[in-house]
């Protein structure tokens, strides 16, 4: 193999598994260390810069970082990255003074953001400090998008949401709330230099089975119903509730039902349990609230008696998978099952809908009414119009919307200055030695064996009594510290200097996870096979040195390196050094934001 090019910022970026997996590339280990040091404000600001909604995400993020966390590869469970973010948010002091302070000198450019969800708010936050005049349109009376209308208050208290939405609106955004944009043409006619569409995927799917028309009054569409509850247009539901669907929306619907009158609430899913889309922790929380989840039951018919819904008849199926893993649901032949219900909530998915975008504006749409959008620049086929969040590529989650927002803001800034959108500024990176003395590091290199700590929950009876009582209490400072100590500091890189190595083998011998091998060079496949421990995880790179005096090379499998620094401590010549790698994703606002030290 060729020697690894560690000058390529993507090499070390990839080693920081969590940060790499985070759509917004939040510098996770850095903020975790700051939490352990009780520097909550700093930890918050690092998050705020990257993901804009630390308090919100610390409660609700889909956490793609956690399955990627290295810790999950050396023991049972990853670090509770998401819930640690909340520790920073809960314990911070005044952070507003550290945010960009308006009024900002206008740059003469004016942009419109359609939709007030996380994608648009991120664009607003990134561009406002640069002097843009920003107009934000949303159909509801407050900003936040689905974070407000969909995510129930027992998972995300309104104060937390308001606080973080307001940090942005207070940057001098012109808000046009209670304003549903009926026509894109009208917006284009105004003097906006660019338009960002962050309208989400607002259409819930229906299921028009026999009996639907007659029973309609008691059949609700999940996302509309949740919005109704959030804005208190809906205050109750029947005692017996069936929620149809196996995703996170279904989990929010059933748990909400339990809090506004539902006593016998069931989630019924057409497919097997293991195929459910909902996050495991959301399923667990629902089950904990005495909500049974029934699988392999596709609905056949709404049963109506005297013009009123009585329940649903379900067919019984089993799943079979062909050699490609493709699933087919096959009737078992058993007799159908009838389940009683006073109300039914359908939570089987959402679609994009752009009835308000005229078809003659040069904005092309592809399959399923999804606009044609460039994956790098977020530009649509009308150069002035950008898309992000769920509106761009279909329903995802808050952190993805934020990542799109950052990217779109960079594009809009380039566009408004007549620059090429594809020549984007590089991310900001930095490598800093952690050496403080012989065998002393600036980071806490010891690896603790503690298993993942559980987040304490509110007492069930109390939390079910009021939909606004938050279920999770969050880690307190002590638990937060302990959990933070589980982080392996993957951003502290092992950096190898070939010319210093005297090939004493000390690093290879000490490495607790057998990462390092000195051996003859070879092809990647062959090397992976003959290292001290087989390098079977192909997603993880091999770090290969230049050729050493004995004609061997040093090969390090990054897969399960604990970043414990022992290799560097045992090296007599400091051929290994532990260096902190800082990677800050390109953002339009980077220059203006106070970078937390």
């Amino acid at each position: 193999m060729n020697p690894t090019n560690i000058k390529d910022p993507e090499y070390f970026h990839k080693v920081v598994d969590c940060q790499y997996a985070c759509p917004a590339h939040t510098p996770v280990p850095e903020y975790i260390r700051l939490i352990a040091a009780e520097r909550y404000d700093d930890a918050y600001m690092i998050n705020w810069e990257s993901n804009v909604f630390p308090g919100i995400l610390g409660r609700t993020c889909d956490r793609p970082c956690e399955p990627a966390c290295r810790r999950g590869r050396v023991e049972e469970e990853p670090v509770a990255i998401c819930r640690l973010k909340r520790v920073a948010a809960d314990n911070k002091g005044d952070v507003k003074s550290r945010m960009p302070q308006g009024p900002f000198t206008p740059n003469g450019k004016k942009i419109a953001l359609i939709g007030g969800g996380p994608a648009s708010l991120t664009v607003a936050r990134d561009l406002a400090p640069l002097g843009y005049e920003i107009h934000l349109y949303d159909e509801w009376q407050k900003g936040g998008g689905m974070m407000r209308t969909q995510i129930p208050a027992f998972r995300l208290p309104e104060e937390v949401l308001d606080e973080e939405v307001n940090y942005i609106l207070d940057l001098g955004i012109y808000t046009h709330f209670n304003h549903y944009v009926e026509s894109m043409a009208e917006i284009l006619e105004q003097d906006y230099d660019a338009i960002f569409v962050g309208t989400g995927a607002p259409k819930g799917r229906v299921l028009k089975l026999p009996g639907y028309e007659e029973a309609k009054a008691n059949i609700h569409i999940g996302i509309e119903w949740l919005a109704g509850v959030a804005f208190e247009h809906i205050k109750s539901i029947g005692k017996k509730v069936i929620v149809l669907g196996g995703g996170n929306t279904a989990m929010d619907c059933c748990r909400t039902s339990r809090r506004i009158g539902g006593e016998d609430v069931k989630v019924v899913v057409r497919s097997p349990f293991q195929d459910m889309k909902a996050s495991p922790w959301e399923i667990e929380d629902a089950q904990h609230e005495d909500i049974p989840i029934m699988n392999n039951l596709p609905p056949k018919e709404f049963v109506v008696e005297d013009g009123k819904l009585k329940g649903i008849i379900f067919e019984k199926v089993k799943a079979e998978y062909d050699e490609n893993g493709k699933r087919r649901l096959i009737p078992t032949g058993e007799s159908d099952e009838f389940i009683e219900a006073d109300d039914v909530v359908i939570a089987i998915g959402q679609d994009n809908a752009f009835p308000w975008i005229e078809k003659d504006l040069g904005i092309e749409f592809g399959k399923w009414d999804i606009p044609v959008v460039d994956k790098l620049t977020y530009q649509s086929t009308n150069p002035k119009v950008f898309f992000g969040g769920d509106a761009a590529f279909g329903p995802e989650n808050v952190i993805t919307a934020v990542a799109h927002g950052h990217g779109a803001a960079v594009s809009i800034d380039l566009f408004c200055h007549g620059k090429s959108l594809t020549e984007r500024p590089d991310p900001m990176t930095n490598l800093m030695s952690q050496k403080m003395g012989i065998h002393e590091w600036m980071y806490d290199s010891g690896v603790v064996s503690d298993l993942r700590y559980a987040v304490p929950h509110e007492e069930k009876k109390l939390s079910l009594s009021d939909r606004k009582i938050e279920v999770e209490l969050g880690f307190d400072e002590i638990l937060g510290f302990k959990e933070a100590q589980r982080c392996l500091n993957c951003d502290v890189q092992t950096v190898f200097n070939t010319s210093r190595c005297i090939e004493c083998d000390a690093c290879m011998d000490i490495c607790p996870t057998s990462c390092i091998t000195f051996t003859q060079n070879g092809t990647e496949d062959e090397l992976r096979d003959r290292l001290l421990a087989p390098a079977l995880n192909l997603e993880q790179d091999l770090y290969v040195s230049d050729t050493l005096p004995t004609s061997r090379v040093m090969v390090k499998d990054e897969n399960v390196c604990l970043h414990c620094g022992l290799c560097a401590e045992r090296c007599p010549t400091a051929a290994w050094d532990m260096q902190q790698f800082y990677y800050n994703v390109t953002k339009a606002s980077s220059g203006c934001l106070v970078a937390a030290e």
Binding site: R73, V74, E75, I438, H439, E440, S445, G446, V447, S449, I502, E503, C504, D505, A506, M508, D509, I510, P512, T513, S514, C515, A533, P534, L536, P549, T550, V560, L562, C564, G565, L566, E569, R570, C571, P572, T573
Partner: protein, 350 residues
């Protein structure tokens, strides 16, 4: 500075035949200087014991005093151990072995420990053919007491302070051959490919198995002009053969070119394979080994590998005809035949 090793290991590391992972053969984190050759030897011991499926509680680690003699703390935490006095490892091992012949004895010593204060002990344990493995971690200096030249420092070797050694160095391999040691080898801490099979073979050898391992002291004797530095050893090393150890239960799987290899079968059926053996010498012939060593010295070579093995080795217990039962298991009943027997013996002399 780290004082403990993380508990995590590589998830894909296999277990050996008796269900242990390599980690089960490790010790606590080393306190030796970073880069010390002794640590590499410890790692080789760990690997060898793992590979031969040794049950850790069936081994006793014996040592004297010195950085080298501290290493038993850094391997085989689950084995027995005795850290004795300076130079006295051989006699303590002799005692232990006589008391319990069922254990495997692994002695670790330094060049100061063996070639100066413990020289008398070394000489006798070798000629008695005590059943043990004796690893000499040879760095040419007294590491623990800050690097004074030891008795194995070569004539003319330059110390860290810049002085030239005016004395003749003792070649412990030559001495062991002279004393009739039945397994004599030399290796280098930086050549695990050779060292690990040597340790495996030594542990299997019935009798005194001596391995002189050149093990650079990075702190006091790794300077230019030292003949025990990493660089010097790498430049002058000359392996006598490629070496492999094949335990009883395994078959020789490697295809060696015809005529190039020599196989020595040990008493328990395990085999030593010497491939690409240097011409006209025979490691089973002590005198041929002695002359090869002398010749190497003359040419400035450091000869490594298995230098001599006596396949007919008879260890101390056999030589003395002691009972098969370890002495420490003999009960009063076994040892004291009773008044009647005593009387009958006494009566013979009346």
């Amino acid at each position: 500075m780290s004082f403990f090793k993380p508990t995590f290991t590589h998830p894909d590391l296999p277990k050996n035949k008796i269900g242990y992972k390599k980690r089960d053969y490790e010790g606590v984190i080393s306190t030796l200087c970073a880069g010390c050759g002794h640590d590499s030897i410890s790692a080789a011991i760990v690997q060898a014991c793992y590979e031969i499926n040794l049950e850790p509680h069936k081994l006793a680690k014996m040592s004297g005093i010195g950085c080298s003699s501290k290493t038993p703390a850094y391997f085989l935490s689950n084995s027995h151990g005795f850290n004795s006095v300076h130079g006295r490892m051989p006699s303590v091992t002799t005692g232990a072995n006589l008391a319990n012949r069922d254990l495997t004895y692994l002695g670790v010593s330094g060049d100061g420990d063996s070639a100066s204060i413990g020289m008398g002990q070394f000489v006798h344990v070798a000629r008695r053919n005590l059943n043990m493995t004796y690893i000499l971690m040879n760095n040419g200096c007294y590491g623990l007491t800050k690097g004074q030249d030891s008795a194995t420092a070569d004539y003319g070797s330059i110390s860290k302070a810049g002085s030239k050694n005016p004395f003749q160095g003792i070649d412990m391999v030559g001495l062991a051959l002279e004393l009739g040691a039945t397994f004599v080898a030399r290796s280098f801490s930086g050549d695990k490919g050779q060292l690990i099979p040597l340790i495996k073979a030594a542990l299997a050898h019935p009798g005194f198995a001596f391995i002189d391992v050149i093990s650079p002291c990075v702190t006091f004797n790794n300077n230019q002009g030292s003949t025990k530095s990493y660089d010097y050893v790498r430049q002058h090393i000359e392996a006598t053969s490629e070496f492999d150890f094949v335990p009883v239960e395994e078959e020789i799987t490697v295809d060696y070119a015809e005529g190039s290899e020599k196989v020595v079968t040990l008493f328990d059926g395990s085999k030593i394979v010497l491939d690409k053996l240097a011409n006209d010498w025979d490691p089973t012939d002590r005198y041929s080994a002695m002359s090869r060593i002398q010749e190497g010295k003359k040419n400035g070579q450091i000869i490594t590998g298995l230098i001599h093995i006596n396949p007919e080795s008879q260890e101390l217990h056999e030589l003395m005809g002691t009972t098969d039962t370890p002495l420490n298991q003999l009960t009063e009943e076994d040892l004291y035949p009773g008044d009647e027997v005593l009387d009958s013996i006494n009566n013979k002399y009346r």
